[in-house]
């Protein structure tokens, strides 16, 4: 169902919100190589349970997402970031 405006002129009400456009944070900072040693930055791209965010959520470009996924896996191997963790707060 379409939402109608209160004035009753029959036009559907405008939704007043703007979606901020996502951008690749690595392209913005001009980082050419994603380093697995920089684990504090990598933690921004994993959920609290330890899963990687898809590119459509984080907004990273294809070039950097490829490197990011490898970097996260390497960091996990070197025990810099967790593999998985049970959800807390229940």
């Amino acid at each position: 169902m379409q939402t109608r405006s209160s004035s009753g002129d029959g036009k559907p009400q405008k939704k007043y919100y703007s979606v901020r456009k996502k951008y690749c944070a690595f392209c913005k900072d001009k980082i050419t190589l994603v380093d697995y040693k920089n684990y504090k930055n990598l933690e921004n791209y994993i959920s609290e349970t330890g899963r990687m965010f898809p590119a459509r959520v984080s907004g990273t470009c294809a070039y950097h997402q490829k490197q990011l996924s490898k970097a996260i896996k390497r960091a996990r191997q070197m025990a810099l970031i967790k593999f998985s963790e049970e959800k807390r707060g229940y």
């Binding site: 001009k30 025990a79 593999f83």
Partner: protein
């Protein structure tokens, strides 16, 4: 043929400073023997790991950036596996990645140049000056 590599490894927390020195020197020594170049040695020191390895909560992190032959790296990997005081290790070749990175930087510089050019044309101030110049020309014609 020499190429750039990065070696990283974790040493057990119960190892002394001397043990750490021994391991680092043995690795750097073999690299120097094979006429390799050690670019940088990064010692993070003791750090709490994200999860325990062999019931150790902490680990001593060392990273070495070098430029050596691939055969030496294969030999080092074999030796690192045998070391009891090394919990984990990782070796990476950086050459092909650096090539890709250079390509990307080139592309970015090109894009920036293109943007500057397009901005130059669309800027208000620039347009204004253009108009002024045209006016002056027309005046000159009239005179």
């Amino acid at each position: 043929m020499n190429s750039k590599y990065e070696i990283g490894f974790i040493i057990t927390p119960d190892a002394n400073e001397e043990d750490v020195k021994k391991i680092v020197e043995s690795i750097s020594g073999t690299i120097k023997k094979a006429k390799g170049v050690i670019a940088n040695i990064d010692e993070w020191g003791r750090k709490k790991m994200a999860y325990p390895i062999k019931k150790n909560a902490e680990g001593y992190y060392v990273f070495i950036q070098t430029e050596v032959d691939g055969a030496v790296i294969a030999d080092l990997e074999r030796r690192l596996k045998q070391m009891e005081k090394v919990l984990r290790f990782i070796t990476l070749r950086l050459d092909d990645k650096l090539k890709k990175a250079n390509k990307l930087t080139k592309r970015w510089t090109k894009i920036e140049q293109f943007r500057k050019k397009s901005q130059y044309g669309h800027e208000e101030g620039k347009e204004g000056t253009d108009a002024v110049v045209k006016e002056e020309e027309t005046y000159a014609d009239e005179k």
